[in-house]
């Protein structure tokens, strides 16, 4: 029984396939404007080729417009299947599924019962109508060979669920009781049909006739077989030829449909020359050329010059059998000269191992993809350039300070290569005094994930061991699975920082000079005015007396004022010359050498006062100084020590030279009267500041000494206690 079932199924499917081929062929008669071209010529030949089909219809917009054979079917012309409730449901089903659907079996207007296969036709993706085939139910069942197959043993039934009533309708008149006889059924989804097959009389007992029946069957089969061989052989061959010819036509039709309707460009090309033999609609759209133009062109005419050689060599290899297919991305030049990127896939139209002369190429427009890719590559390059060549170093490091990634600019800024930096802990590069700042910044970053934390400038050691000022921003991206680290942006701000330090130094220098200038202008105005006011007063007194003696007295006073004024002017001149003398010779001088000279110069006074001079100055103590200034400075301090000695005890002056970190210091210590620094502290080095009433103390010496030391870049300090003595410390540059 299974055998019988398979036969029925095959037969019906074959009819459905034929119907599909016919409907598709008819559909291809519709041109781009929706007109049906050549129906009258094509329809008869199709009916002849596929005898199972009883009629063909063209149904634009659901209204039957053309029908063949015309005479028997002309009554249906103008009938609108999309308005009739009996037909609309099944017609819509075809549109909805975009597939051929078989309506019926139903009674025909023109008489009889038939199934109608409707193929929905879409033009430019819009429903155009149907191309339909009509198969009379008898033809379908005949094709299925139900009669021949049933004989005495089987009973068939053909059913379909009514689209309106939803009840199963049976189309064959017989007494098959589905409940009782049924054993198998076949379902055809293209028409929602069900064919049942059952045994005619399962209850009759014929066991007693089995041996005889078996014998008769054997003889009959043998005779049938012989007769079949004798008489059916030519018919069988004919049938085979027919079916194969049908298959060929069928696949040719399929190919043509695919070729023309494909959404990608397709061309058939003569392999040896590259000439276009056939092109499809999509390719014509893509290239901008018409069918006629393309017929006289070859692939070179639409290829970018720089792609031609590669393409030609691939075609040569294809022809020689070295390769069996290829695909490449290339540029196609459109009719207007525009260049578009395409993917080309080539398959030869001959079997492997054989030779041939044409191939099929499929062409896909990938301009947008290529443009997007180029844009992406461009962006990536730009981004890399930013990271790699920026003045900043971008690093990703662990919580513990180990570098996981570093931009290449790290080498330019730190001297360490990208690989070397990974073996150095970041914290070990931080200047010890700055470590706390850096750790605070790290702490803040760890506590605030994703927030960029800017930091104060810190010093970092480069590979050469130099400290460089760096400014950084740290962002904790440990939670980001793409980063899994702390991102640091480091900028070298050493030049900026150095400029800042220099600026600050210049500011200090300017402030100091300004202070000295103010002091000097005060001195000038005060000291000169004290003389001029005296002169004014004397003259005023002179003019208001008549006594000759008194007048002479005033003249004497005036000459005294003149002498004092002269002194003052000399002092000021000396001060000005120190402050303005910028191009003094500065040379390395040995302190001991100059101490010898100074002590020689003061020998008489030292001996007279019985002073003791202790010296502990190393010979290597050399300072960069102006020789005249050094003589003046030493002479001044020693003279002061002798002048302000304590009368009650023996004067001891000790001179010590030593190095304080990197600069030389000279200490001159005495056991003299001392200075009350609490009272005079800030004035001790001022001009005309005297602290005793000795007639020869003018308050000029220390002022000039300090100016000379400072002009040489050094500084001077003092420690003193009244009654105990004074220590002056000269710090040389």
């Amino acid at each position: 029984m299974i055998n019988v079932m398979n036969r029925v199924e095959q037969n019906i499917n074959s009819s459905l396939k034929d119907s599909y081929s016919v409907a598709l062929s008819m559909g291809l008669l519709i041109n781009d404007n929706g007109e049906i071209i050549g129906f009258e010529e094509t329809a008869p030949s199709l009916l002849q080729q596929f005898p199972v089909i009883d009629a063909i219809q063209m149904v634009p917009g659901g209204v039957i417009q053309k029908v063949f054979p015309y005479e028997e079917n002309k009554t249906v012309i103008g009938y609108d299947i999309l308005t009739d409730s009996k037909t609309i449901d099944e017609a819509l089903k075809a549109i909805e599924t975009r597939k051929m659907y078989f309506a019926g079996p139903m009674p025909l207007k023109q008489g009889g019962t038939a199934v109608v296969g409707r193929l929905p036709v879409f033009k430019n993706n819009k429903f155009w109508g149907f191309s339909a085939v009509i198969i009379k139910l008898e033809s379908l069942l005949e094709q299925a060979q139900l009669k021949e197959l049933s004989g005495d043993k089987y009973i068939f039934q053909f059913s379909k669920e009514n689209a309106v009533t939803k009840k199963e309708e049976f189309f064959l008149k017989n007494d098959l009781d589905i409940e009782y006889n049924i054993s198998e059924s076949i379902i055809f989804p293209d028409g929602d049909w069900e064919i049942y097959i059952g045994l005619k009389d399962p209850k009759s007992s014929f066991y007693e006739f089995i041996p005889l029946a078996f014998f008769i069957l054997f003889i009959a089969s043998w005779l049938g077989w012989m007769v079949f061989i004798l008489f059916k052989q030519p018919a069988r061959l004919q049938k085979l030829v027919n079916s194969q010819a049908g298959e060929l036509a069928n696949s040719e039709l399929k190919f043509r449909t695919i070729f023309n309707q494909a959404a990608i460009g397709m061309v058939r090309v003569e392999t040896a020359t590259g000439r276009f033999l056939e092109t499809n609609r999509r390719f014509r759209e893509l290239s901008g050329y018409s069918d006629e133009e393309l017929n006289s062109m070859d692939f070179r005419d639409v290829s970018h010059p720089s792609d031609v050689d590669n393409n030609t060599s691939l075609m040569r290899q294809l022809l020689d059998g070295e390769i069996h297919e290829y695909s490449l991305e290339k540029r196609l030049i459109q009719k207007g000269g525009n260049v578009v990127w395409i993917t080309l896939s080539v398959s030869p139209l001959w079997k492997r191992g054989f030779s041939g002369n044409t191939h099929i190429a499929t062409i896909e427009d990938i301009t947008k993809r290529v443009a997007a890719q180029e844009e992406l590559t461009h962006k990536e390059k730009r981004y890399r350039a930013l990271v790699e060549n920026g003045a900043e170093v971008v690093t990703i490091f662990s919580k513990e300070g180990w570098t996981l990634y570093s931009s290449p600019s790290v080498e330019k800024l730190s001297g360490y290569s990208e690989t070397e930096i990974k073996s150095v802990n970041l914290q070990s590069l931080v200047y010890p005094d700055d470590l706390k700042i850096f750790q605070q910044q790290m702490q803040a970053a760890i506590q605030n994930p994703k927030r960029p934390i800017p930091g104060e400038p810190i010093r970092l050691m480069n590979k050469a061991g130099e400290w460089r000022w760096a400014e950084s921003t740290i962002t904790n991206l440990l939670d980001d699975p793409n980063i899994d680290g702390i991102v640091g942006n480091f900028r070298d701000i050493s030049d900026k920082k150095e400029a800042e330090i220099n600026l600050n130094r210049s500011y200090q220098t300017v402030m100091e000079q300004n202070r000295r200038l103010l002091n000097f202008s005060y001195i000038v105005s005060h000291n000169l005015r004290s003389h001029s006011s005296n002169i004014q007063a004397i003259l005023s007194l002179y003019n208001t007396t008549i006594l000759e003696d008194e007048k002479n007295n005033y003249i004497g006073l005036l000459s005294k004022v003149g002498g004092a004024l002269n002194h003052t002017l000399n002092d000021l001149n000396e001060v000005v010359s120190i402050s303005t003398n910028l191009d003094l010779t500065i040379e390395p001088l040995q302190i001991n050498d100059f101490l010898d000279k100074t002590i020689d110069l003061l020998e008489l006074q030292i001996n007279e006062k019985g002073a003791i001079i202790k010296r502990d100055v190393p010979n290597e103590m050399m300072v960069k100084f102006n020789p005249a200034y050094l003589e003046s400075v030493l002479l001044n301090f020693l003279t002061n020590a002798i002048r302000y000695r304590e009368q009650k005890r023996k004067l001891v002056i000790s001179i010590v030279g030593y190095k304080d970190t990197e600069n030389w210091v000279l200490e001159i210590k005495d056991n003299g009267v001392g200075i009350d620094l609490e009272r005079h502290g800030d004035k001790i080095f001022g001009l005309y500041k005297t602290f005793t009433q000795r007639p020869n103390s003018r308050g000029v010496g220390l002022f000039i000494t300090r100016n000379q030391i400072e002009a040489m870049g050094g500084s001077v300090g003092v420690e003193s206690k009244v009654g105990a003595g004074t220590v002056f410390k000269i710090h040389f540059k």
Partner: protein, 129 residues
């Protein structure tokens, strides 16, 4: 009643001049001189010492300048300005000195050198009892 005046100034020539000026005014009974604030204060701090009616005080002096003298006097005799009038007399025309003088309520005025006979007469008459 004729007044007494005291001059504290380290300029010897100025001392000679001011002596003549004071004589010319014929307003003062006595005049005394100190060349340093320290010497003057040594005398003035004694409770028995009778302060002069008018003091002419210089600013720049070697051991104790005018300001230090004022500070010392204020701390040892807080009410001294009831007995005496102090004038700062200086050749300085620095603005900082003038404002500093004004900041002391105990200072009666700032006088710029040279001090004329008429100016001194005017001051004497102001403080005549």
């Amino acid at each position: 009643m004729r007044e007494s005046i005291c001059v504290i100034d380290d300029d010897q020539i100025y001392q000679l001049i001011i002596k003549k000026v004071v004589e010319r005014t014929e307003e003062f009974e006595s005049v005394c001189f100190y060349s340093d604030g320290l010497d003057a204060f040594e005398d003035f701090k004694s409770p028995k010492y009778q302060l002069p009616e008018i003091i002419l005080l210089d600013i720049n002096m070697p051991q104790m300048d005018g300001w230090q003298f004022l500070d010392c006097l204020i701390s040892s005799k807080p009410d001294f300005d009831k007995e005496t009038a102090i004038y700062i007399v200086s050749s300085s025309i620095a603005y900082s000195d003038i404002t500093k003088a004004e900041s002391y309520t105990q200072v009666s005025g700032f006088l710029s050198k040279p001090l004329s006979v008429d100016k001194l007469k005017e001051i004497a008459s102001k403080h005549r009892k």
